[in-house]
């Protein structure tokens, strides 16, 4: 069983994707065309990017339920500031606002030692309220058409957002696996007390993690907003479910300590394929939510098996 779980950890999500590709290419004659594949990948970039941040948070033993509201806040910031200060500065402000919320999360969790669930749930309320207040409860149309280039433009025939996502993947991969910060994040996630005793600045690591989560959410929001050209205070409701689902399905342990960025990337592609499949049969948006919820349950089931067998192995004294 442990062997199976190890195999699953390495290849399981690939199996999901292969099954999905085979199924979809039978179901739709258009699926195996370059445009469709690029489209599916592009649709998956949002989940992937927020998922990278969430992977980091789960690795550190926490999580963040406030990503939706952070995305909404950034979106509203863009719509408000683009006419006033121009596009580049507005993007900077939007991302900084996101990072600021992340810092607040991190400060409350690390310094006040409040449970991450309560902290990020409250922050979700507060920031949603703030976004609605700034926008006056309405959507704000952005009139500067050139802002659209960022999210809808293509370079060498490939949508820009895919490059941005890949860039983020490389950065996060490097940070998580090849820097001391990344190792400290894993250490804090597997045993906070031990890391503290061995000299890791646990509080700083946690604050850094939540800033990064919010930062990726903010940047994802910039791309989405540029595609819609609307600042939406209610943008991306339910997105936290998607972000957590791709992270857990990708094999990042809920117990903390082990992050799997590859898994997150592939799981995001898989969820995007599920969306594509649902669109094929013309199902409403509610079915997307249902499907992602069910995928999360499957992912939790597998994670539950893993936890159980690891415990059993530990009890028998087998080294895993």
């Amino acid at each position: 069983m442990i062997k199976f779980l190890k195999l699953y950890e390495r290849f399981g999500i690939l199996l999901f994707i292969v099954v999905g590709v085979v199924f979809l290419s039978f179901a739709s004659p258009n699926f195996l065309k370059m445009d469709t594949i690029l489209n599916v990948v592009a649709q998956g970039t949002y989940a992937a990017m927020v998922g990278f941040g969430m992977t980091l948070a789960l690795t550190s033993g926490g999580f963040d339920l406030s990503v939706e509201s952070v995305m909404a806040l950034s979106s509203v910031f863009l719509a408000v500031f683009i006419p006033k200060v121009g596009i580049p500065l507005a993007i900077l402000l939007a991302v900084l606002a996101a990072a600021f919320v992340g810092m607040l999360n991190g400060l409350v969790i690390a310094k006040l030692k409040v449970n991450p669930l309560i902290t990020t749930l409250s922050m979700q309320m507060i920031v949603t309220g703030a976004a609605l207040l700034i926008a006056g409860g309405k959507m704000i149309v952005i009139k500067q058409k050139q802002f659209m280039e960022l999210g809808t433009g293509k370079t060498l025939g490939i949508p820009n957002q895919i490059y941005i996502m890949l860039l983020f993947f490389v950065i996060f991969y490097f940070v998580l696996y090849h820097t001391s910060f990344g190792r400290q994040v894993s250490a804090v996630g597997s045993n906070e007390t031990a890391s503290r005793i061995s000299g890791v600045n646990v509080d700083l690591v946690k604050i850094g993690v939540y800033v990064l989560v919010a930062f990726t959410a903010g940047l994802t929001s910039v791309i989405r907003t540029s595609q819609a050209l609307i600042g939406m205070p209610t943008m991306s409701a339910g997105f936290v479910l998607v972000a957590l689902t791709v992270t857990i399905l990708g094999g990042t342990s809920l117990a903390g300590g082990r992050g799997n960025l590859w898994g997150t990337l592939l799981a995001a592609l898989f969820v995007s394929m599920v969306y594509y499949g649902l669109n094929l049969i013309n199902l409403q948006i509610f079915y997307q939510m249902l499907a992602v919820g069910l995928v999360l349950l499957i992912a939790l089931f597998i994670e539950g098996l893993r936890v159980r067998y690891l415990q059993a192995a530990k009890a028998k004294g087998i080294r895993v």
Binding site: F63, L65, V108, L112, V114, N115, L117, I118, T119, L121, S122, M123, Q124, M125, I126, T128, G129, A130, L132, L133, G137, G238, V240, L241, L244, T245, I248, L254, Q284, F286, Y287, M289, L290, V292, G293, L294, L296, L297, L300, F301, E303, G304, V307, R308
Partner: protein
């Protein structure tokens, strides 16, 4: 009380437990009555009591859940799903069946949550997060995103009826609290729940069926959400698959935590949860009456929860306990 020997700090903490929340509630009512003409009408104060029943009844189940060291954040969606299902049965089978199905289905869904939580060995909040979206989307799909109206007199009576001059919802809430407090203080079950919340491993080693307790607790959450959903649906006259129960989990957690139950579990205060749910409802109503932009209410409630956690932190520090 052994605790009393530790002096003034303990006295302060205990007095807060006893008088703090009622005092806060009184201050709130006085302040809003002073500020708003329409707030201080008897009608408003009583109808608020009815709304308090929605939060108050649900908070009993959530209190047991948090005492046992877990959270259930699927309650809002659960309320919407069972509400639309129950209400949709009324035209064909009558109000009695509709109410019964609402309560029983909620209990069953709570049981289902419990099965997932105990069998998967995964923190409950994440399992129930998944269930939250599943229930919500099922409610949308079942109704095709249209509200279901309730016209049945029996069902409407449960939320709006008056018995001997007292609104029925308040009587129902009182009965639920009496049952909850009895269960918590006078039965082994209550002690087991607290024991599981304090130290799960120790509870298991001393022979408590931890999974069984968890299963029972999540089923209870479902039961009380079911009862609260019936009252809510009657008071509002309809169930909306998208709007019903939005933010309900947040209100319940706030009521329980503000009521003095420790976040990590291990102690419980049902009377506190009662007063805290009144505070939550009067605050919401008062802000609404003062025409405060409803978006500020999001901010206010987010801050109230953090404030509640802070109060608990101070209290447990005074008592020399560590909150996890």
């Amino acid at each position: 009380m052994i605790l009393k020997q530790r002096g003034a700090r303990v006295v302060i903490a205990n007095q807060w437990d006893r008088f703090g929340l009622p005092f806060l509630l009184a201050v709130l009512i006085v302040v809003f009555s002073g500020l708003s003409e329409s707030f201080r009408t008897v009608y408003n104060l009583v109808s608020n009591f009815q709304f308090a029943a929605m939060v108050g009844i649900g908070a009993i189940g959530m209190a047991f859940c948090i005492m046992s060291g877990d959270f259930d954040i699927s309650v809002g969606s659960m309320s919407a799903l069972v509400g639309v299902l129950g209400a949709s049965l009324v035209p064909r089978f009558g109000g009695g069946v509709g109410v019964a199905v609402t309560v029983l289905l909620a209990t069953a869904l709570g049981f289902l949550n419990g099965v997932f939580v105990t069998k998967l060995k995964i923190p409950a909040f994440i399992t129930t997060l998944g269930m939250m979206y599943i229930y919500r989307s099922l409610a949308y799909i079942y109704t095709n995103n249209t509200p279901v109206y309730i016209k049945d007199p029996f069902w409407l009576f449960l939320g709006n009826g008056v018995v001997f001059g007292v609104p029925f919802a308040i009587i129902l809430m009182a009965v639920c609290y009496a049952a909850g407090i009895y269960l918590l203080r006078k039965t082994p079950f209550g002690r087991y729940v607290v024991a599981v919340g304090t130290n799960r491993t120790a509870a298991r080693l001393s022979g408590i069926n931890v999974d069984g307790i968890k299963l029972a607790v999540f089923t209870m959450v479902g039961l009380f959400v079911g009862i609260a959903s019936v009252v809510t649906a009657a008071t509002l006259g309809s169930v909306n698959p998208g709007m019903t129960g939005q933010g309900y989990e947040f209100q319940l957690i706030t009521a329980v935590v503000l009521g003095g139950t420790a976040l990590g579990g291990g102690n419980g205060n049902l009377l506190g949860a009662f007063f805290a749910s009144m505070i939550v409802v009067y605050l919401k109503n008062g802000l609404g009456m003062k025409q405060v932009n409803s978006y500020w209410q999001f901010v206010a409630f987010g801050l109230v929860l953090i404030f509640a956690v802070g109060i608990n932190r101070i209290k447990f520090t005074l008592l020399g306990m560590r909150e996890t």
